[in-house]
Amino acid sequence: MRISTAKSERSATPFETWGGKLRATLFPTLLQSVVSLVLMALIAHVAYAFIDWAFIRAVFTGSDGSACRVEGAGACWPFITHKMNLFLYGRYPEAELWRVHLTYGLALAGVVPLFVPGVPRKPAILAYVLLVFPLLAFILLSGGVLGLPLVRTDLWGGLLLTLVIATVGIAASFPLGILLALARRSELPFVRWTSTAYIELVRGVPLVTVLFMASVMLPLFLPPDVTIDKLLRALVGVALFSAAYLAEVVRGGLQAIPRGQYEAADALGLGYWRKMAFVILPQAIRLVIPGIVNSFIALFKDTSLVLIIGLFDLIGIVEQSVQADAKWSSPQTAATGYFFAAAVFWIFCFAMSRASAALETKLQVGARS
């Protein structure tokens, strides 16, 4: 058996100089040096290929795909700039776009203060976000009242639809998820079994089948004279699906609350609902906020599946433009469109995962003090 001396050599290497640091991290042994060089070559190759495609050989101007059809052309950027409104809002009427922007503004006005430390009256802001904002957003986006022209939901699309489905999905699944989590830990056997069966059933099947069910079976389940909007069907499917996952996250929080808290609440003579609402849930949910953000990220990515039941979210509408628009068809249209969609999703998901990680550290610090 060979005795490794790499470790002692490494710790002996002086870290004061950049050269020393470089040697210690990249070239400590012959094998490691080879690995480092191969990886460097790989990075250089990929970086060059990307810059070449996205900038050097890319097409930046044009009013149709003819410039992009030239042999050896790179990314077809005018495809993105010309279709930007379609990608962001679907076929939402251009004259009414201010309503979408106002909705985004109202959402930010509610959510940002929640995450900034030191802002007073957070419960009131939370109530606005959970109760007032959804109503305002619905009135603004859909219209039909207060002199706002009606915009049918089949005109909603692109990033707007992605955001609507993800937000409504998480907001609707939140209360249901909490109820399911409480039920799964209930002392009443029938309640517990029902909840467990629901959660395990939903978690055992793919979202695609749940969406198929919502799209095809839900209309069958309702009385024959009731018609249900396609978007609403997708929302029901997404919310029912996401509730099962959220329930498991919340259950984790409930299990982490020390027994003493339950007993203390009992000793104060609080009934079940008061005990849960005022003592247990506030602590439990605080514990699992990172988990909730992670479910939201998963849900945000999963919204793209509504493509399969014929709704056009960001990915759906990019895919449709790539496949069906002959004016812009070129060898690079698909790659450019997918790159744009991937970049948008990546920015949203990465930002949320960073926020979740930061919250986790902050909450842990808070819990320890």
Partner: protein
């Protein structure tokens, strides 16, 4: 009169008592829940029956025996357009299982490699693995499948300009063409040898476990694999098995084993996506092994690689396996995204084509969901069994 009033008062008191009795309340609450559920169920069944009648859709499972009448591009079980819907179901199921099993294998290898690279002392390797994880995890799988299918595989050259790969394989826009093993006669003999070798390997496994009171080392699996491989090779040589390499015919590559681009895209997409999650699980597992174990291994004079293989990984596996099971299940469920790129998996064939042709949404979707539930349950059981076997006895 006083007696009667007293009785009434007493009766009222017991009624109030009952209302405040936790047992009675629990019973009443559960009965209420049961009633609501039964009511919902009855209502749904009644509405569905009425709707189906209005739309003239048959119900029941008779449709499974009818002729399907459509073709499927990739079939593991014999199938033609004259086969029944039930057979189409099995084609879809086998395709789902195929992509899930291969995807799990690939994702595990790639995920472990990335997870170990994340903890590498080489700064570049760990950063690169991190970059991979952060990019792949934060982009929807559906988009990644479209990228692989539309932007990569369909953008490959036509068969005339196919890319030649080492080992006589070719890659073109119609898929991957691999050499195929041809055994003139004696396929049964090969199967028998494979079976016997597997039994031999299992016996060796058991004997080793019985002798050494320690967990099985995953690396030894390779050694046992040789027990299977060598006899098979010997028999193949004896039978003069030949490799049929793909040849370019008039329009397409022929003779070889052709793998459809839909399958390739789904397999690559699923395994690279899941690998990013597995990498994080592996990293967490490795971090979860106490630092003293590494130091102890170093003190014993084990190299980093030896320490990883004999000391760290076996302990990390205990942390890794439960979340890993979840990822395997996710991969299996995510394989249903096949419907977006036209790979004939269970959802695409059964909940797609069969549902559209028969209109029997309730039956078709219930069957599909039941299959996924069964797969989830079976995988969970299998991984639990594996977990128990690799877990160390608590002291």
């Amino acid at each position: 009169m006083t007696g009667e009033g007293g009785k009434r008062w007493l009766a009222r008191k017991t009624w109030i008592d009952a209302a405040y009795d936790p047992k009675m309340r629990a019973l009443a609450f559960q009965a209420l829940l049961a009633l609501v559920l039964v009511f919902l169920f009855v209502e749904v069944v009644r509405n569905t029956a009425a709707n189906l009648e209005k739309q003239n859709i048959a119900s029941g499972f008779d449709f499974l025996a009818r002729t399907a009448g459509f073709d499927i591009s990739q079939t593991l079980v014999p199938y033609t357009s004259k086969s029944t819907y039930a057979r189409a179901f099995f084609v879809g199921l086998s395709n789902t299982l195929l992509v899930a099993v291969l995807g799990i294998a690939l994702a595990t290898v790639l995920g472990f490699a990335l997870g170990i690279a994340r903890g590498s002392p080489n700064w570049l390797a760990s950063r690169l693995a991190l970059a991979y994880v952060e990019v792949v995890r934060n982009v929807p799988l559906l988009l990644q499948l479209l990228v692989w299918y539309v932007a990569v595989l369909r953008a490959l050259p036509m068969p005339q300009g196919a890319l030649a790969l080492p080992g006589g394989a070719f890659l073109d826009t119609r898929g991957l063409h691999l050499p195929r093993l041809v055994v003139e006669n004696g396929g049964g003999l090969v199967a028998a040898v494979i079976g016997l070798s597997l039994i031999g390997a299992a016996w060796l496994w058991r004997r080793r476990r019985a002798r050494a009171d320690e967990p099985a080392d995953p690396v030894d699996v390779v050694g046992r694999g040789l027990v299977v491989l060598l006899p098979v090779l010997a028999v193949l040589l004896a039978l003069k098995a030949t490799l049929a390499t793909p040849q370019l015919g008039r329009f397409n590559y022929e003779d070889g084993l052709s793998i459809e681009p839909e399958f390739l895209a789904l397999l690559i997409g699923l395994s690279t996506y899941t690998a990013a999650f597995i990498a994080e699980i592996v990293r967490a597992g490795l971090d979860g092994v106490p630092k003293g174990q590494r130091e102890a291994a170093a003190a014993l004079g084990l190299s980093r690689r030896q320490a990883l293989r004999f000391v760290i990984l076996p302990q990390a596996l205990r942390i890794i396996i439960p979340p890993l099971t979840n990822q395997y299940l996710n991969l299996t469920k995510n394989s249903s995204l096949a419907v977006a790129i036209g790979y004939p998996d269970l959802v695409s064939v059964f909940s797609g084509t069969v549902l559209n042709q028969t209109g029997q949404a309730v039956e078709v979707i219930l069957i599909t969901m039941a299959v996924y539930l069964a797969i989830s349950l079976a995988t969970a059981l299998l991984m639990n069994w594996f977990n128990v076997r690799t877990a160390w006895a608590e002291r």
